[in-house]
């Protein structure tokens, strides 16, 4: 019985490691006496205000499903639900956060640019890192977006370029799109959050580590940024009509993968000729999926292995009796296999062992990207693991202005999709297809209720938590299979609700411009003065020139652009709009394409 439980525990850090990595003998032996940076709490929007509520919500025997008491706190009726683990740690080590912000240009000459952020952080070896990320990540992201504010702002009136004020031309110049600037903001914010946790090591109690999954809604687009093994999936449900209007060239540009190709084969129909299909918006970073990166890091920096590990993978586990014989191996970024002669070195522990969710890096950790873990050491060898871990996210995004939706069908939630963001507690026991199906069946059960997305979140958590049987095991309701014993957190975002809000904002921007046009203001000439980049005339791909000298590469002078020009192109973009929904998912992570 004990073994059974143990087997079902899918801890990220190998079960034998103490929850707080032992730092004695290192320079940070005093760590335990340091204070917490943030007092443990559940996400503020849940309003679990007292210790008593906190304690009751962490009841490991019942695992209550917690939803926001006031569902109007989250924007767009977004749903959220969570549930504590069955006892592997005293507290729920997942955290969630959201933030609505406005980017205001210091010149006040641009309309304010609103954005909304959601984040989910799955902590391990303590709750500190996830808690810090939920408190601090959005501040960092905001700074990064403010850094590029000039180039993100919709233009009121660029006025004539003033080359003398712009930075001097560099040896080369590249035009950079707004998308790339937003992706860059996300990427650099991830790196900085990780650096912040490193800085805090001497000031606060060991925070452990966490995965990070972030969604950013800005300028009519949805960006999903992931480091770790939480996962986000866009659940879509489309009529035949809409599907027909997409080209048949499916999945050419989709960020991967096994998951995805399966979903196309197995997409099923529900009653009204509606097809449900999930599109993965992130990919797990585990020792198994990141083998090429980890093995080349190890190969290039053998000292990181301290002579204890070997940066090779073998088709068959090497044994002493095979010494001197030929063995199939691969190393670095090799995709195929080759022969080598087995030596003593090959008998060391491979840097990556195991497969899938059960794979381990240096026999210790099961997730290879995220924040924190700066003091994590490998079981056995005691070598630092952090050099192999990375905070760098994979970013996928979608331009919502290009989504096809037939108004008469009233199927906006299906066409634009419901974005599910969840920690591995959900995905360990329920596959993407089942999640998508559950999303739409639950929504149709509650066609008008304002809390329908909360009901979806609650349903997903209930499904993956399952129920406890007489002998104290958590089992899925519809089978005898083990349910998750991990913390579970689920965010359910109705993407169309954001898009509506965006259209409204765009309309207001236009209105404001009309007003400004009708009363000519001399001030408008100064708008571009403070910018260090200009929007080029190329409206279609929204290119902003970095370090431009006032002339773009084609020798065209920068043209005056209308406000929101970059986003109102829905109608004149018919051709592009017909690209498949999948095609519009763009990934930044080259490794995920393989």
């Amino acid at each position: 019985m004990f073994a059974r439980i143990k087997k079902s525990v899918l801890t990220v850090v190998a079960p034998d490691i103490p929850a707080l990595p032992d730092t004695s003998g290192t320079t940070r032996a005093h760590n335990r006496s340091l204070p917490d940076k943030f007092t443990y709490a559940r996400p503020a929007f849940l309003q679990l205000l007292t210790y008593d509520e906190l304690k009751a919500s962490a009841d490991h025997n019942v695992r209550p499903i917690i939803v926001p008491r006031d569902i109007s706190i989250l924007p767009w009726s977004t749903g959220y639900a969570e549930c504590v683990n069955s006892g592997k740690s005293e507290w729920n080590e997942d955290q969630a956060a959201f933030c609505r912000q406005v980017l205001t240009h210091p010149s006040k000459q641009h309309p304010d640019l609103p954005y909304t952020y959601f984040g989910i952080f799955d902590g391990h070896a303590g709750y500190g890192a996830a808690l810090a990320a939920s408190h601090q990540f959005h501040h960092i992201l905001h700074e990064k977006l403010v850094d590029v504010i000039d180039m993100l702002m919709p233009r009121q009136d660029t006025g004539p370029p003033k080359p003398d004020i712009l930075p001097s031309p560099l040896a080369f110049q590249r035009s950079v799109s707004k998308d790339e600037l937003i992706i860059g903001a996300l990427e650099s914010a991830f790196i900085e959050m990780d650096a912040l946790l490193a800085e805090d090591r001497d000031k606060y109690r060991n925070a452990g580590g966490c995965t990070a999954l972030v969604a950013l809604f800005i300028l009519g687009k949805m960006f999903v940024s992931n480091a770790g093994d939480s996962r986000s999936v866009l659940c879509q449900r489309m009529s035949n009509e809409v599907l027909k209007s997409h080209t048949s060239n499916i999945s050419s540009n989709v960020p991967n993968s096994k998951d995805n190709s399966d979903s196309h084969e197995s997409k099923w129909e529900d009653k009204k000729h509606m097809h449900i299909f999930p599109i993965p918006f992130s990919h797990d970073h585990t020792p198994d999926t990141e083998r090429p990166r980890l093995m080349s890091t190890a190969k290039l920096n053998p000292s990181l292995m301290g002579g204890e590990y070997v940066a090779m993978e073998y088709a068959k586990r090497p044994a002493v009796k095979d010494l001197g014989q030929r063995i199939l191996y691969r190393q670095g970024t090799m995709k195929g296999w080759a022969y080598k002669t087995l030596t003593r070195d090959d008998l060391k522990m491979p840097i990556v062992i195991g497969e899938g969710k059960r794979s381990r890096l240096m026999g210790t950790i099961g997730v290879t990207r995220g924040f924190g873990d700066h003091d994590l050491r490998a079981i056995g060898s005691g070598l630092p693991i952090k050099p192999f871990l990375s905070p760098h996210p994979e970013v996928n995004y979608r331009d919502l202005t290009k989504v096809i939706s037939i108004p008469e069908e009233n199927n906006e939630d299906g066409d634009y999709g419901i974005l599910i963001m969840a920690t591995d507690g959900l995905w360990d026991v329920i596959d993407t297809e089942t999640v998508s199906k559950t999303v739409f069946t639950t929504l149709s059960k509650y066609p008008t209720e304002k809390h329908r997305y909360t009901m979806v979140a609650q349903e997903l958590v209930a499904k993956s938590r399952g129920r406890i049987n007489e002998s104290g095991h958590w089992r899925l309701a519809d089978s005898k299979a083990a349910a998750t014993v991990d913390d579970i957190s689920v965010i359910v975002i109705p993407v169309y609700q954001y898009y509506k809000e965006y259209l409204e904002w765009e309309r207001k921007c236009k209105e404001d411009l009309e007003k400004k046009k009708s009363m000519p203001s001399p001030a408008s000439f100064e708008t571009s003065v403070t910018t260090n980049g200009t929007v080029s005339g190329d409206e279609e791909d929204e290119r902003a020139e970095i370090a431009g000298d006032g002339y773009d590469a084609d020798g065209e002078t920068a043209t005056t652009t209308t406000p929101c020009d970059t986003i109102s192109s829905t109608t004149n973009d018919e051709e592009e709009g017909k690209a498949t929904a999948e095609k519009e998912v763009t990934s930044t992570d080259p490794s995920s394409g393989t």
Binding site: G87, E90, W91
Partner: protein, 213 residues
């Protein structure tokens, strides 16, 4: 504050009967006429004294609608007491008591003390269920019965405290196995200093190796 025992309660009954208002009246001594629909579960807590002993009540307020029924069922686990509430001005809430009771009996510990509550006694002019009917139902099913008003606070204290007394008596009689937390009773730490501190302090820290790993 340290306590001798912690009792877990669950409040059940149709939606709109006043479960959330009863909880608020008991924990905060106030009535909030317009209350959000409860989705999922909410928690309340209060310390009471019985027989000179400090007893902490941890109360789980559940959603009454049918849609939440399967999730609510999992919350009976580990409850020592239940308040089964109906609304004296709406007969159908009284008619549904049997279903609620079946649910409770099936999913809870057999020793769970159930208190039947006819709420909204301040609305006597709109009464649809006679007090005698409530009494009869309680007698028939072996429940304790009381009419309350979350608005005027009439009998609210008594309802929660009498339930606790009943549980306390059962403990004295040795009916409850107080060492089994699944019974909804927890013994307080004898030498518990002050507030149960937030996580991190001493042995409460992140590592609970006694769990399953």
């Amino acid at each position: 504050m340290s306590y001798a025992y912690l009792f877990k309660y669950i409040i059940i009954g149709d939606t709109g009967v006043g479960k959330s208002c009863l909880l608020l009246q008991f924990t905060d001594k106030r009535f909030q006429p317009v209350h959000d629909l409860t989705i999922g579960v909410e928690f309340g807590a209060r310390m009471i004294t019985i027989d000179g002993k400090q007893i902490k009540l941890q109360i789980w307020d559940t959603a009454g609608q049918e849609a939440f029924r399967s999730i609510t069922r999992s919350y009976y686990r580990g409850a020592a007491g239940a308040l089964l509430v109906y609304d004296i001005t709406r007969r159908e809430t009284f008619n549904h008591l049997t279903t609620w009771l079946e649910d409770a009996r099936q999913h809870s510990n057999s020793n769970m003390v159930i208190m039947l509550i006819g709420n909204k006694s301040d609305l006597d002019s709109r009464r649809e269920v006679k007090k005698e009917e409530g009494e009869a139902f309680a007698r028939e099913h072996g429940l304790v019965f009381m009419e309350t008003s979350a608005r005027t606070a009439a009998n609210v204290e008594e309802a929660f405290i009498n339930t606790a007394k009943e549980i306390y008596e059962k403990i004295q009689e040795g009916v409850f196995d107080i060492n089994n937390e699944a019974n909804g009773i927890k013994i307080g730490q004898q030498h518990s200093p002050t507030n149960p501190s937030l996580p991190g302090a001493g042995n409460q820290g992140g590592s609970t190796s006694s769990g399953c790993c």
